[in-house]
């Protein structure tokens, strides 16, 4: 890779005087073109709706619901994507203009500006993903704080009921669709190609597009607070017919936001599958793959198979809302439970989409910081596959009390309980990996241990919920809120933090502050347990979830939970401060600060623009700690300053 291939890009950045510069600014890919193309496409969408209504003689001509949907939620975002440049290469190809397959002008980051354009470098996209998802994590967390303000005392009226219902609905939607799922995709985007010994993902332009769909989805969900009638307020599950026919305009912001996030998810998963199957370095057989790659392989299978189902459920729900179809409207022959079956056929596998990549991160972190090979490597990989298969056979355990066919409950209970077995195998294997090891408690390891203990509690409460008689009592109560936060916060979020701290040196080339990292861990760990453990008790005593008000007997516990949650919220500030100051001024990171064997640590921090100057030859397992003379791969010595060399003219 030479500087010559980068020339067009350099040229593009060079400010040239006069008309040419102004023309490029207006017509070249970027936020200015994205702005006016958003407006242009939005106007076309507006024209289409009004035109068709005028042609058909429908009254009223200006119906806000279809106009908002077509112009603001579909056409406008497409214009934004076109403007930012996500389709430039494909458009040129489609209309027969000359394209240059070897044109790497959209690759790599030299200044911070390069993070704000369509970039095809998986490392840049990984960072774009992470920063974006952390933004939505903070937004979603802020909404959770507002929820806790309302719930601090019974009889509070800080928010009217519709706004309150909107707060927790948007909170959950952001945390699931804009934080946990894409944060894992971001980490994997950065790490997986490196672990495979590949120069990039299989489809770099698709990769860039899948990132730029995300902010669209997130802004759509957040901005639903601004539309008349308020945000969607039917929970992140959006059950019909409440969400499909009894909600204000905001509901379609959820329906459509999920489509954009889901499309992003599917594109990334396809990309991972092709990358993992076809771009492994020589010698890197499936049984030599790091477990993080296994985890993302299985997750991507889940995403590709399951996500179209939620897309379908949201389309039908939206059609009921906008076009007055009756998929889920019982007054006209619709079937409300149909929505739940389709929705959970995605959304239960989605629980594993939010869990398996974290399992992968845990395997890396625990093995490296215990200085021992992963215990039972093959069973670890096979249990991931078992979870994928079983994960598709348990969806109706969310519906034990939904009024569905009652015979379905026992088989779904059996599969639900059985899925605890492969999950248990993983937990026991991680503990066996630590056994007799040499444990180093750096921040990633602390979060890994926090994950282990919290996920055990979440898993056991999951077994309780799997037993139908217990579920009948505690379903839709705060016990569920406690369980899902132990799994998704104590589980997923802890692993995301572990992953961010673990790969921070590789991503930024600088070390984070270890003391602040540990402080962040302890504040999070303690705040998390004080916030969510008492919710188990609220639930078994019968406090329903998703209520703006509750019986006075729950007052003390709720006040306690609210206070604890504000502490938990504040702990994120420590994390942000650490990340920002360390990225700017942290000590320069060595190539391999953790003495890890996997491939990403065998190149410089941050890695060279095309990752490996020479394709590595994999010769063994990635976890041979303690085996004298063992090697995972043979690499030609990588020049540590590859980035600077490439950038020099």
């Amino acid at each position: 890779m030479t500087a010559a291939t980068l020339d067009p890009h350099e040229h593009h950045l060079t400010p040239a005087g006069g008309k040419g510069a102004a023309r490029r600014l207006l017509l070249g890919p970027g936020f200015i073109r994205a702005g006016w193309m958003f407006c242009l496409f939005g106007a076309i969408g507006f024209g289409l709706v009004v035109g068709f209504r005028w042609w058909g003689g429908w009254q009223p001509l200006f119906d806000m619901t279809p106009i908002t949907l077509v112009s603001l939620l579909v056409a406008g975002p497409l214009g934004f994507l076109a403007g930012i440049g996500a389709f430039d290469y494909w458009t040129r190809y489609a209309i027969g203009s000359p394209t240059r397959p070897e044109d790497h002008s959209g690759h790599g980051a030299r200044t911070w500006h390069d993070y704000f354009r369509v970039n095809t470098d998986h490392k840049v996209i990984g960072v774009q993903y992470l920063v974006t998802t952390i933004f939505f994590f903070i937004a979603g967390g802020f909404l959770a704080m507002l929820v806790r303000v309302q719930l601090a005392r019974p009889g509070n009226h800080f928010f009217d009921p519709q706004t309150y219902n909107g707060l927790f609905s948007v909170h959950a939607s952001l945390m699931i669709f804009l934080f946990v799922i894409p944060a894992f995709a971001g980490l994997a985007n950065f790490v997986v190609p490196l672990m495979l010994g590949a120069p990039d993902m299989a489809f770099p332009r698709l990769n860039a597009l899948s990132f730029w769909l995300l902010p669209i989805a997130g802004i759509m969900m957040l901005s639903s607070f601004l539309v008349p009638g308020g945000a969607f307020a039917c929970g992140w599950t959006g059950y019909a017919p409440l969400c499909s026919t009894h909600q204000p305009l905001g509901a379609i912001f959820f329906n459509q936001g999920v489509q954009w996030a889901g499309a992003s998810s599917i594109m990334t998963a396809l990309n991972f599958l092709v990358t993992i199957i076809t771009m492994r370095a020589p010698g890197l057989t499936f049984w030599r793959l790091p477990l993080l790659v296994w985890a993302n392989f299985t997750t991507s299978l889940l995403v590709v198979i399951a996500t179209p189902f939620i897309a379908g459920s949201q389309f039908f729900s939206m059609f009921d809302h906008v076009m007055h179809t009756a998929f889920f409207d019982p007054n006209n022959g619709g079937y409300p439970l149909g929505y739940q079956h389709i929705f959970w056929f995605y959304s239960h596998p989605a629980v594993y989409i939010m869990m398996l990549p974290g399992f992968g991160i845990m395997s890396e972190v625990i093995s490296v910081f215990s200085r021992k090979p992963i215990f039972g490597y093959r069973l670890m990989a096979l249990s991931l596959m078992a979870i994928v298969v079983l994960g598709f056979s348990v969806w109706a355990h969310h519906m034990f009390t939904s009024g569905m066919s009652s015979w379905l409950r026992v088989p779904m209970m059996v599969t639900t309980l059985l899925i605890a077995v492969p999950t248990g195998i993983k937990i026991f294997s991680w503990i066996a990996t630590m056994w007799e090891g040499k444990l180093h408690f750096n921040t990633p390891m602390l979060f890994a241990l926090g994950f282990l203990s919290m996920f055990v509690i979440g898993g056991l409460s999951g077994v309780m919920l799997g037993a139908v008689p217990i579920d009948i009592h505690v379903t839709d109560t705060y016990f569920i809120v406690a369980h899902l936060h132990y799994v998704l916060f104590g589980g997923s979020v802890f692993t995301i933090f572990a992953g961010i701290y673990y790969w921070f040196p590789k991503m930024t080339g600088r070390m984070y502050d270890e003391r602040l990292g540990k402080l962040h861990f302890w504040l999070t760990f303690v705040g998390f347990n004080l916030t969510f453990f008492p919710m188990h008790l609220l639930g078994t005593e019968g406090m329903p979830r998703r209520v703006a008000d509750y019986a006075p007997k729950f007052a003390d516990l709720n006040m306690f939970i609210s206070l604890a949650s504000f502490g938990l919220g504040a702990s994120v500030l420590v994390f942000l401060y650490n990340m920002i100051t360390s990225w700017k001024n942290g000590p320069i990171a060595p190539a391999n600060p953790w003495r890890a064997l996997t491939l990403e640590w065998q190149v410089s921090s941050p890695p060279p623009i095309f990752n490996f100057d020479e394709i590595p030859q994999v010769v063994g397992s990635p976890y041979e700690y303690g085996v004298p003379g063992a090697q995972h791969a043979i690499l030609a010595p990588s020049p540590a300053h590859a980035v600077e060399e490439v950038a020099a003219p």
């Binding site: 017919p241 009024g403 209970m413 503990i431 444990l439 019968g542 329903p544």
Partner: protein
């Protein structure tokens, strides 16, 4: 493995299991049990909790022991022993959890089939849920309706539940019973009350802006007291006195859940204040009597400014018999003057 390490592992396991057991026993986790079904469900609850505590103790002991014993010194750069696995151990921790969860599954399935069985002399109650109120009616007592549920102790009751708009759920924590009420379906729930008292009926499925106010109560009483109540109610609704009958209709149809009316000690805030009915009628430029009647049967005909459309159910016109509706209108006019 050294003998000393087994002893200390066991010690940590007993301590952490003991702490978990103490948390389980010292805190009153479950509300009082007021039905036969609740007793069985509580058995499953504690059966599973016991298994969970044992597993938790094992895992906690192994983690804590590792953290303390296998901690590396800061300057120790050596690696641990290269142990890649142990087939026997891996088989064990696949088989043992499988056996445990199978046991949980069997116990649960047995309890489920017992709770689902319906006795021959079961009483039927129809439950109607709508945003944001409950109506209970007794098909075996001339379809008498009530806004609160009254049940005789010791007799199995089958609730036949229907929704008029969105999905709701019937939940009584003391009965450990919970089932969704889905528009277009009739779902059922069996309950055999065993303990006198008044317990909350909670809507447990998000049903819109008034979800957290969609509450009623269930009162379990002596069978004799229950029969007396049924007779008294039938009499009140058909009372020649419009005030007595109207007050009963107001109460039975759950108007108090959303409206304020001083005469009925109602303090709901979701809908307009019924003490101000004459003023509203003036604003709507309609005579009071027809205004009140239309507002019940066709609530969207006039919407008082400051309140949203489509919140009040549009089904009362059909649900309330004419004679009772007349009594309700008279009662509202008299009470708001």
């Amino acid at each position: 493995m050294r003998r000393g390490s087994i002893a200390s592992l066991l010690g940590i396991g007993i301590v952490s299991g003991g702490i978990a057991a103490a948390v389980a026993l010292a805190i009153p986790w479950l509300p009082v049990s007021a039905s036969k079904e609740a007793g069985r469900i509580d058995f499953v609850f504690w059966f599973v909790v016991t298994i969970c505590i044992v597993i938790f103790a094992v895992v906690a002991a192994a983690i804590l022991y590792s953290v303390v014993v296998f901690r590396a010194a800061p300057d120790d750069d050596s690696d641990g022993p290269p142990i890649h696995g142990h087939t026997g151990l891996e088989i064990a921790w696949t088989i043992v959890p499988t056996v445990l969860v199978t046991a949980i599954g069997i116990v649960s399935a047995i309890v489920l089939s017992r709770d689902d069985a319906i006795a021959k002399n079961a009483m039927n109650v129809n439950v109607t849920a709508q945003q944001f109120e409950w109506t209970f009616s007794y098909p075996e007592a001339h379809n008498l309706t009530s806004a609160t549920l009254m049940l005789p102790r010791g007799r199995e009751t089958v609730l036949h539940m229907q929704s008029r708009d969105v999905i709701h759920a019937f939940f009584v924590p003391e009965f450990r019973e919970n089932e969704d009420i889905v528009p277009g379906l009739t779902t059922t729930l069996n309950v055999t009350p065993t303990r006198d008292g008044t317990y909350p009926v909670i809507c447990n499925e998000l049903c819109g802006l008034g979800h957290s106010t969609m509450r009623s109560t269930v009162t379990v009483m002596e069978p004799a007291a229950f029969d007396k109540w049924l007779k008294g109610q039938s009499k009140a609704v058909t009372s020649p006195s419009a005030v007595t009958a109207g007050a009963a209709v107001f109460k039975n149809n759950g108007c108090a859940a959303c409206h304020t009316l001083t005469a009925a000690k109602a303090t709901g805030k979701v809908g307009p204040d019924l003490d101000k009915l004459p003023a509203y009628a003036q604003q709507a430029k309609q005579p009071l009597a027809s205004f009140v009647r239309t507002s019940i049967t066709d609530p969207n005909a006039y919407i008082q400014p400051g309140y949203p459309k489509n919140v009040m159910p549009q089904t009362f016109g059909k649900a309330i018999p004419k004679q009772q509706l007349d009594a309700l209108v008279t009662y509202l006019i008299n009470s708001s003057k």
